[in-house]
């Protein structure tokens, strides 16, 4: 079934990849400058998010193929983050214009592995939702993800009306090599039709959003001693989390968790082109409704355990002054509420009430500047300030975690082009800090479990700690390695360091590690 679905979607995926492939075959005129400057990249990302943005994008054709390796390790992490992460990602994307059509396509294949990941038996990690399987035993995960996304814009009346649609398809598999062993499959499809109109310098698009997806998670054990899920082996027990503290042992050896979600939303996109500046603004709302349960042989006997509704609001304003200046203002808010309807038998009434609440808000402002174009060596600098506040509450076990922090950061950059001719180089050094603003944790003593210690308290201490963040981003593009196809290599190094160790007063809570490092090495072909 799954295989058929993959095959079914491979054809559209290939079709969406066509722009990139076609661009490769066309004349030698390439647009690698899009990828060489972070400001230009940000403009590209904003443009491809909507039909309004796509038809307003000044470049007709551009594309990139990249192969990247990513490594991350360290103890400065939350309780449901792996100690070590590796992935290799193949990605290709681009924009192509064919008469009245403008097409954007992106294909990503990622193979990743994580080590020492506990309290998480999920396919696509999303620990802010209420229902998922978890085990205290840390283990090694292997995951594969295919993502195909694209957008087509068609000009109905030049300079007046545009229609189009976007689509994102995801297929993900995950498994673990220690008991308990989840075998997870995720599928999702999101469609975004859009109607856009132009009035003078303004292009406005209205975009309804519809999405559907599912996750199936079946747990197996190799060791028969563990499979019955008894307390004798507490680390190997599979728990069904039903919030952030309310949890129950997986009730049968063949119980499977099935998640189905439906998404609805609306987005308003606006592009304003002034003489030098281009403004891309987006106001969006999405409602995602997850239903959790277990499928049986007959749909009549399907078990419904609960539902979770997540409303997300986002406002983003980006202003670009060619490739020199970038102003970014973003605000986001998410609000999630569940309804727990789990029942073990007709004699055990369901709670039929809300148990879990999730709230998250963020504000971000950033400004970036690069020296004037035309020079062989251009300096650049930028600054950003992010504020984020998150609150999670589990009602029946009276667990609550709230934290807020700000992340100020600055960067300095150096862009070089034409040294030697056809070659390009950029180096950026960024320094920042995660500065906790407020945090609180509540765990009712009668309800304290291993999960409370390993995740709730640990995350409280993690978010209470100040951390310094350093990042080095270096890229070299060579125009002569492959004829008419610029090729580049990029190295991204990140380092986070704990500045002040939290004073852990609750016994049994794992210490927050002092550091975490990450590195990404990627090779690119610019089309």
């Amino acid at each position: 079934m799954i295989k058929r679905r993959v095959n079914k979607w491979m054809l559209p995926a290939l079709w969406l990849l066509l722009p990139a492939a076609s661009a490769l075959a066309q004349s030698g005129a390439v647009s690698d400058s899009v990828w060489g400057y972070p400001i230009a990249q940000a403009a590209y990302r904003q443009a491809t998010r909507s039909v309004a943005g796509l038809v307003s994008y000044p470049l007709a054709n551009t594309g990139i193929i990249s192969l990247a390796g990513h490594y991350e390790e360290g103890g400065l992490r939350t309780g449901q983050t792996p100690q070590q992460h590796r992935d290799i990602t193949f990605e290709t994307e681009g924009v192509r214009t064919l008469q009245r059509f403008r097409v954007y396509g992106r294909f990503t294949y990622q193979r990743s592995s994580q080590d020492s990941l506990s309290w998480s038996l999920m396919g696509v990690p999303d620990h802010d939702r209420p229902f998922y399987y978890a085990a205290r035993k840390a283990g090694h995960f292997e995951r594969q993800a295919y993502q195909v996304s694209g957008r087509v814009a068609y000009t109905l009346r030049p300079g007046r009306l545009f229609i189009g649609a976007g689509a994102t398809y995801l297929y993900n598999t995950a498994y673990r090599t220690e008991d308990p062993r989840p075998a997870v499959k995720n599928f999702s499809l999101v469609l975004q039709p859009e109607f856009a109109w132009q009035q003078g310098r303004h292009v406005t698009g209205i975009m309804p959003v519809w999405g559907y997806g599912y996750e199936t998670n079946g747990i197996t054990y190799m060791n028969d001693q563990y499979r019955n899920n008894f307390d004798k082996y507490p680390e190997r027990r599979t728990w069904m989390m039903m919030g952030m503290g309310y949890m129950q042992p997986r009730s049968t050896t063949n119980q499977q968790l099935d998640v189905h979600f439906h998404m609805l939303g609306m987005g308003l996109h606006h592009v304003y082109r002034a003489a030098q500046w281009q403004w891309n603004s987006r106001l969006s709302w999405q409602r995602r409704r997850d239903s959790y349960g277990s499928r049986r042989d007959q749909s009549l006997n399907d078990a419904e355990w609960g539902a979770y509704t997540l409303n997300s609001y986002q406002l983003a304003i980006h202003a670009f002054n060619e490739q020199r200046r970038h102003l970014r203002l973003e605000a986001a808010h998410s609000s999630g509420n569940d309804r727990n309807t789990y029942t073990a038998s007709p004699l055990v009434p369901a709670l039929n009430a809300q148990n879990y609440r999730y709230r998250s808000s963020s504000l971000e402002a950033a400004y970036g500047l690069a020296g004037p174009a035309g020079k062989a060596l251009r300096p650049g600098w930028g600054a950003a300030l992010q504020w984020r506040q998150t609150g999670r509450r589990d009602f029946v076990t009276a667990h609550e975690l709230r934290y807020a922090y700000i992340t100020p950061s600055v960067y300095g950059a150096l862009y070089s082009s034409g040294l030697p001719p056809g070659n390009r180089f950029h180096l950026q050094l960024q320094a920042g800090m995660r500065w906790p603003v407020s945090q609180s944790v509540t765990v009712l003593p009668t309800q304290q479990t291993d999960f409370s210690l390993d995740v709730v308290y640990h995350d409280y201490y993690y978010w209470s700690a100040k951390a310094a963040l350093l990042q080095l981003d270096a890229e070299y593009t060579c125009g002569s390695m492959i004829p008419r196809v610029p090729a580049g290599i990029r190295l991204l190094l990140g380092y986070s360091h704990l500045l002040q160790e939290p004073d852990i007063t609750v016994p049994g809570v794992r210490e927050v590690g002092r550091r975490r490092v990450q590195g990404v090495l990627s090779f690119h072909l610019y089309l």
Binding site: K232, Y313, A344, V396
Partner: protein, 449 residues
């Protein structure tokens, strides 16, 4: 529109967004609740003032498995559990009353402490304050036969003996010589479906989830659900009345097949049966009795059911091909004496009237002197099924902690030791009377108090 207007519009949008964000923080979910367990004596004991001090009260959440325990340290009749998860709770209470206190309350002399127990299943506790009433009863005393050990789980499917090595140990819990002759052992019939698989719309189940025997094919007795116990297996120890004496504090072992399951042997088809790990199974070659179905008309016995040299139980009814205890734990056993002739008892198919259904024996309670009973349930919460035994026979149930094929047995706790004789605890509540231990047919295995 100029730049200023554009910016203004976006700011309005931002403000609207923030306003929307600030409004949705009002929802309140459930809160932890408090549960008060209130104790009372069974009214049948009369108006006696048994002191509840020392009672051990345990409540367990049916969904999460989380349990809370409290002991009464003052003269009160209730225990309060604050800040527990709302939901449904199983409650067990155990109270040991000293002989002096018992005599002071009842005027009856006891030759040792007296045990009381009570239990309740799936009690809802979702209101902020909840009270669960528990009635305490004494057991059937220490003067007769009790079921001491039940090894139903079997041993490992690859390295052990599967369920060929099951056995039941019966114990003379009295101070006098007893004879095992003509003692009946019955496997009680009941619904083996899990709760979620019971379709109440069919009308063949009572609200407790058990069979509604008034709907059984051919049933015309209005008291079908209350006046009888239904057996899917009934066996009788042979003897003339004085053939099998059992000293006080001694046991008899009834095996499925009385063999040393640790050692290789040939089954009925001549095939050699071996176990990879003898430690996982038991030696039943010293069992006192076993069940042999090979001489039963129309029965194709299991190949492991051999005609051993041990005395075989008389088979009144057996719906299995040997003495087979349900190894996931959907089982209830009773031992009783009866002067009636079981041949005169009626038989019925279960109310679901399956074509493959076998007849179950309708045993009139009035013909039975029940000596002991115990109920077993699967270790996994979700696999449990409706209770088979009425509360007056067994107020609770028990299970081996590691479930099927674990080599574990349920064994009755020790109440006291009198002059070297172990007196086993019998409060008519399996939840508090039994514990798990590795199966041991040596007759010398005893659990602590």
């Amino acid at each position: 529109m100029n730049m200023q207007k554009h910016t203004r519009l976006l700011l309005v949008g931002a403000l609207a967004l923030l306003a929307a964000c600030s409004k949705d923080d009002d929802g309140q979910g459930l809160q932890p609740v408090s549960v008060t367990v209130k104790l009372a004596l069974d009214p049948q004991m009369g108006n006696t003032a048994i002191p509840f001090k020392g009672a051990v009260i345990k409540i367990s959440n049916v969904i999460t498995g989380q349990s809370y325990q409290d002991s009464l340290t003052t003269e009160t009749d209730q225990a309060a559990f604050a800040s527990v998860v709302p939901g449904s709770y199983d409650v067990t209470v155990k109270l040991r009353v000293s002989a002096a206190d018992y005599e002071a309350a009842t005027g009856i002399k006891a030759d040792g402490s007296v045990l009381f127990s009570g239990a309740a299943s799936t009690q809802a506790a979702t209101a902020p304050q909840n009270t669960i009433a528990i009635t305490l009863r004494t057991g059937s005393g220490e003067g007769n036969w009790v079921i001491k050990q039940v090894y139903y789980a079997g041993s490992d499917t690859k390295d052990g003996a599967l369920f060929r090595d099951q056995f039941i140990e019966l114990y003379n819990n009295s101070g006098q010589l007893l004879y095992a002759d003509s003692l009946y052992i019955s496997q009680v019939e009941g619904v083996s479906k899990t709760w979620e698989n019971i379709d109440f719309t069919t009308g063949i189940f009572t609200p407790t989830g058990q069979w509604d025997w008034t709907k059984a094919p051919g049933m015309a007795d209005a008291g079908a659900n209350t006046d009888y116990i239904y057996a899917r297996g009934l066996f009788r120890i042979p003897g003339t009345g004085t053939t099998y004496p059992v000293e006080p504090g001694k046991s008899i072992i009834i095996a499925t097949t009385a063999l040393n399951h640790k050692a290789p042997y040939q089954d009925a088809s001549g095939r050699e049966i071996t176990v990879r790990n003898p430690e996982l199974t038991v030696d039943l070659s010293h069992a006192d009795f076993d069940v042999y179905m090979g001489d039963q008309p129309g029965i194709n016995p299991l190949r492991s059911d051999l005609n051993t040299s041990k005395p075989h139980l008389a088979v009144i009814l057996n719906t299995s091909r040997d003495l087979v205890l349900d190894n996931p734990g959907r089982e209830a056993l009773i031992i009783f004496r009866s002067s009636a002739n079981p041949a005169g008892w009626a038989s019925f198919k279960t109310p679901d009237n399956l074509s493959s259904g076998k007849l179950k024996l309708q045993m009139p309670k009035s013909d039975m002197n029940v000596l002991d009973a115990m109920e077993i349930q699967p270790a996994e919460q979700a696999k449990r099924c409706p209770k088979r035994l009425p509360l007056d026979l067994d107020a609770g149930f028990n299970f081996v902690t590691d479930g099927s094929y674990s080599s574990q047995a349920l064994i009755r706790k020790t109440q006291k030791v009198e002059g070297g004789r172990v007196v086993l605890q019998d409060t008519n509540n399996s939840s508090v009377d039994f514990v798990t231990m590795k199966a041991d047919p040596s007759k010398n295995a005893f659990a602590d108090q």
